[in-house]
């Protein structure tokens, strides 16, 4: 039967979710058999997949650390995923207890899980929205309640843009977000890249992710750098994520194996 257009989407846990696959890569158990099957297929094709996820998650941690050190107290984390370990509000609020965080994700299960975790934290909230509707995110009452856009906000779009195709005009989406930000705000981006990877690996990864609601859209370092339009990239610019302000010298070894590129930009003015 055709679904009537007024009916909201249902919950389909028979389909792998990229949020729960990611949790699996990170070593979590917030996942179902379908998710594990897809994640294991990915690991079979790209054995470093768990390390890539870990490298990205570590980048996220260092970026939040950097931002709190820079005085940022407000975070809008879009595509926040299943809260496993090392979430933005934990890192930020450990450094700055007054930090406020709003999580945004399209995955209803991820959102329900976040909501349970955040219960009782009056400086953090979660919103079910889509990065492809930035105006809805910006006007959402919970976003408005917790974040003051007259003051700097760090917008995090970490390990999400590879689920946003060029047809969805990511540059425009980010421009809409940027327009809402005060000077001194930041943008954190990371995403999967295939630079230096074999065509087979890339094709296999794309095939596996086609079984999810979020097919992959790989970008090059140059393409990601272009998405920082309007922001000044902080050192060291868009790099393999392990190379972004590593905490120890050996942290950045074999950086390109992470297959993740990322960077942090600051809104001047």
């Amino acid at each position: 039967m055709q679904r009537p257009d007024w009916a909201p989407d249902g919950i389909d846990i028979e389909r792998p979710s990229v949020a729960r696959m990611y949790d699996y890569y990170l070593g979590g158990s917030h996942n179902f058999a379908v998710d594990r099957a897809a994640a294991q297929a990915m690991v079979a094709a790209v054995p470093e997949a768990p390390l890539m996820a870990q490298a990205n998650r570590a980048f996220l941690r260092r970026a939040v650390q950097f931002l709190t050190d820079a005085g940022v107290r407000q975070f809008l984390d879009i595509g926040s995923g299943i809260p496993t370990v090392g979430n933005v509000h934990e890192i930020a609020q450990r450094n700055a207890p007054d930090a406020r965080v709003v999580y945004v994700d399209v995955d209803p299960v991820a959102v329900a899980h976040s909501r349970e975790i955040l219960d009782g934290n009056d400086r953090a909230a979660v919103v079910q929205e889509d990065l492809r509707h930035p105006e809805r995110i910006l006007t959402h009452p919970d976003v408005r309640r917790l974040l003051d856009f007259d003051r700097p906000v760090a917008v995090m779009v970490v390990a999400v843009l590879h689920f946003v195709s060029d047809d969805d005009r990511p540059a425009e989406l980010l421009r809409t977000l940027r327009a809402a930000l005060a000077p001194g705000s930041y943008l954190v981006l990371s995403q999967a890249s295939a630079d230096g990877r074999s065509d087979e690996e890339r094709a296999e990864a794309e095939r596996i992710y086609r079984s999810t609601d979020n097919p992959l859209w790989i970008r090059s370092r140059g393409e990601l750098a272009a998405l920082f339009d309007g922001f000044e990239l902080v050192e060291p610019g868009v790099v393999w994520v392990p190379q972004w302000r590593p905490e120890s010298a050996d942290g950045a070894e074999d950086a390109e194996r992470s297959a993740f590129i990322g960077g942090v930009g600051r809104l001047g003015g």
Binding site: P8, D9, I11, L26, G27, A53, E90, A112, E247
Partner: protein, 601 residues
């Protein structure tokens, strides 16, 4: 998510080992030993660790200190091993690989790196490691189960939420589908549903149910003169008032300015009349819309009956017909359903619907009634009268089907057939002596208003060869009055051709003689009512009116025929007044043309 419990300080059982650095249990930073660094290196990458390498090393240094202390203490406290295993998992070093690497590095390096010496150190280490593995596996199992439970709970919550959202949107959709967007009242769909339920619910047969159809009088005028926005605003006000005045009954909007009220469990028609009057009163209140004070009225059709044997469709239709009766009676009122009247109307309606097929099958025919000269009794003309030989109902006279044919427009084909047939037959009439009688045919207003009238008549005359002066077209006074300039011009063209134009039923309408001067009229047919008045000797007034009418007509060069002449006395009086011709039973009833012709010949 969440801080590993006790990540900052876990009291260590037993005294600090000699080899442990002072303060190791206090969580204060101190340089990690080579062993702790090696351990950190071994476990990093086994799962995501939400901490810096330095934090990881500090944590493992603390656990190293605890293990070392335990190995040195007597007796060997295996709980320390369990606790270390638990702590590792709590710090998210929580994977099969994490355990494997830990066992490996502790087994290979702990004793050597820390330079621990004891006779049974191998033995003690094996037991302690087993305790670490046990504690670790238990904690990992619990953690896995907890996470599975929490993600399942999240999935259930999300699903419940999605279902709620679905139900809400279904409810919204259902509301939209069953309500009128302008007024917010239930719409026809919901009304029909509720009416059907009221009728079809089991055990309700003995109850009574009623429906009021309400429609604003001349609402179109409001729309036309104030615009649709004002019209809509008025409808919203009316809807609101009806809802409030009829609280407890279902008030729905059917569309346009039509509303309907459902009354269940009525006690009889009185209840319905009360509802209708409340509705009429609610509508009557002046309403201020966009600064205009608008006063509207309404008409209501009421149906009330026992539930048994009722059907929603029939009830709605009956209420609709009844509403039309109220409207036809001038509006600002209610009308009560009358089954007999409805049956008659239905029958009439069925009859009119059968006209086209009857025309095709040749079920119509013409009779003629003579128009006789009052001077010499000669038949000067005949009026064509249509008959319908109905296969079931027998021969029908025009009054049983012409009215409806006029309403529905079927009069155009039917009247056209009559005209053509009359011309065709009249052409063949010849009389031995004087001129053949002219044939007089009635034209309905719709026929007169049609643009092609002149061509139609012209064509018929040419076709049949009937001389124009032997055709008379009868038009009622009201047709004449309601007709615009164009049809009058058409009649003039026909009159110029020589066709006779008669005003039928003269005296029943405006009775305004002045306008006759400007019309191409040849004859007046005075309505039977006037003639009827001549029967009683005391009604001199009628006679005088008639006399002055005749002299006026003559002054305008019109001939006068009196209709409905039934007696010789009337004929005599009319002759005395100066009337030219007469028609009625006295001169002959309608009959086939041959019979009349036979008599004349």
């Amino acid at each position: 998510m969440g801080e590993p419990p006790g990540a900052t300080a876990v009291p260590v059982a037993g005294p600090p080992a000699a080899t442990a650095a002072p303060g190791a249990t206090g969580g204060r930073a101190h340089r990690p030993s080579a062993f702790a660094r090696a351990w950190a290196k071994a476990v990093s990458g086994t799962s995501y660790l939400p901490m810096t390498q330095a934090q990881l090393e500090a944590l493992l240094q603390r656990l190293t200190d605890q293990l070392a202390a335990a190995l040195a203490a007597e007796p060997l406290d295996l709980r320390v091993g369990h606790r270390v295993g638990t702590e590792l998992v709590a710090a998210h070093i929580a994977s099969a690989e994490g355990l494997g690497r830990t066992v490996e590095v502790v087994q290979l390096r702990l004793v050597r790196d820390l330079g621990l010496v004891a006779d049974d150190v191998e033995d003690r280490l094996a037991r302690l490691l087993a305790a670490v593995a046990t504690g670790y596996a238990r904690a990992l199992r619990d953690r896995t189960l907890d996470e599975q439970e929490s993600i399942r709970r999240a999935a259930m919550t999300a699903r419940a939420q999605a279902e709620r959202a679905l139900r809400a949107s279904e409810a919204r959709f259902r509301h939209q589908a069953t309500h009128d967007p302008l007024t917010g009242l239930p719409n026809r769909t919901l009304f029909t549903e509720r009416l059907t339920a009221a009728i079809n619910s089991p055990g309700r047969g003995a109850e009574r149910v009623g429906v009021c159809f309400l429609d604003l009088d001349r609402f179109k005028v409001v729309n036309d003169s104030h615009g649709h926005r004002t019209g809509d605003a008025l409808l919203v006000i009316v809807a609101d008032r009806l809802r409030r005045a009829l609280d407890g009954y279902l008030v729905a909007r059917l569309g346009g300015d039509e509303f309907v009220i459902l009354v269940e469990h009525t006690g009889g028609t009185d209840d319905m009349v009360a509802v209708a009057e409340a509705a009429l009163a609610a509508v009557r209140e002046p309403a201020v819309v966009d600064g205009h004070e608008l006063t509207v009225s309404a008409s209501v059709g009421i149906v009330e009956r026992q539930v048994a044997g009722a059907s929603p469709g029939d009830l709605m239709r009956a209420a609709d017909s009844t509403l039309h009766w109220a409207k036809a009676a001038g509006g600002v009122r209610w009308a009560l359903y009358d089954a007999d009247r409805d049956r008659q109307e239905l029958a009439r309606h069925a009859l009119s619907a059968a006209i086209p097929a009857a025309l095709e099958r040749g079920e119509f025919y013409l009779d003629y009634q003579p128009l006789a000269s009052l001077h010499d009794g000669r038949v000067v003309g005949v009026e064509a009268l249509v008959r319908w030989r109905h296969p079931e109902l027998g021969v029908l006279r025009p009054d049983s089907f012409i009215g409806l044919a006029e309403e529905t427009g079927l009069i155009v084909p039917l009247g056209g057939w009559v005209l053509a047939e009359a011309c065709r037959q009249a052409e063949s009439w010849s009389t031995a002596g004087g001129a053949a009688p002219y044939v007089s045919v009635n034209l309905a207003v719709r026929q007169v208003d049609r643009p092609g009238l002149v061509q139609e008549v012209h064509g018929l005359l040419r076709h049949t060869g009937l001389p124009p002066e032997r055709l008379q077209l009868e038009i009622t006074e009201s047709t004449m009055m309601s007709t615009a300039a164009e049809p009058v011009r058409a009649l003039r063209v026909l009159a110029d051709l020589g066709v006779r134009i008669a005003i039928d039923d003269f005296g029943t309408g405006y009775c305004n003689l002045a306008y006759l001067r400007d019309l191409p009229v040849t004859e007046l047919k005075v309505a039977g009512e006037f003639v009827a008045g001549l029967r009683a000797p005391e009604t001199r007034a009628d006679e005088r009116i008639l006399a002055s009418l005749v002299s006026l007509a003559h002054a305008l060069d019109l001939t006068v025929t009196a209709e409905g002449v039934e007696t010789a006395g009337q004929a005599e009086r009319l002759r005395a007044i100066g009337c030219d011709a007469g028609q009625g039973w006295h001169f002959g009833r309608p009959e086939p043309a041959e019979r009349i012709l036979e008599r004349i010949r």
